[in-house]
Point group: C2
Chain length 139, copies 2
């Protein structure tokens, strides 16, 4: 299960993607429309901005807007930002590899072998699902 933070982030990105290249949205409006606690949402939008997905304008009339193309923001990106590794074991993580402290012989480890396969399947579908995917009506 993903964290609520991650889910809220995706919902906010979808809302902002619906106004892509059409100016900014207020945190307060997104908060109301998506049922996300406002102060929590502030933190989330800020993190998304720092990560380069969003831009912002401060002060009166300010707000957040999509900076990257929604078709180029993947669920894998957002999941990694808020919830960490896609891989189920640290030793099969693509971007954040760590050895398992209880592992004797990593090269021969059959857990690593099988969980690498699982990670790759999971990764592929999460990379192929983008913010744009949530906008289309078609099935």
């Amino acid at each position: 299960m993903m964290s609520k933070k991650c889910k809220y982030a995706i919902k906010a990105l979808i809302a902002l993607a619906e106004h892509y290249e059409q100016g900014n949205l207020f945190t307060a409006d997104i908060s109301k429309a998506q049922n996300i606690p406002k102060k929590f949402l502030e933190q989330i939008l800020l993190e998304l901005k720092h990560a380069g997905f969003l831009g912002s304008k401060q002060g009166y009339g300010g707000g957040y807007y999509m900076k990257k193309n929604p078709a180029e923001i993947t669920v894998a990106d957002i999941y990694r930002l808020f919830d960490g590794n896609i891989a189920l074991l640290p030793c099969v993580s693509l971007l954040r590899y760590e050895s398992c402290d209880d592992c004797q012989d990593e090269a021969a480890c059959t857990l690593k072998r099988e969980f690498a396969k699982i990670r790759e399947q999971t990764r592929l579908i999460m990379v192929n699902t983008t913010i744009q995917s949530f906008l289309t009506q078609e099935k």
Copy 2:
């Protein structure tokens, strides 16, 4: 990432599967061989027993043994037992469905639509990976 508990469970099951229908193993021996804290392992083996995967024999010379066929114990089973839902959102969980508290119109929710696809892909590979999969040497 899965919990250490879940990973330890899989490692213990593999060790026991290697002695399938060849008597029992001691908790202490599995603990040493797999680098799993003994007291933690006790709880894990007990849970696996209560879930029907293992059998046990008490007293002197007792221990745990595989009860189910290793080829019929899937990673999905173990993950669900220790770490919960495979689905990333409660509303797309196959076995433990719950509605999202922030969702307005679930039927029209595109998060549900896309995350249902992700859940199904993830589920399939986790169901197709069994304890037996970790035993085979071939690639």
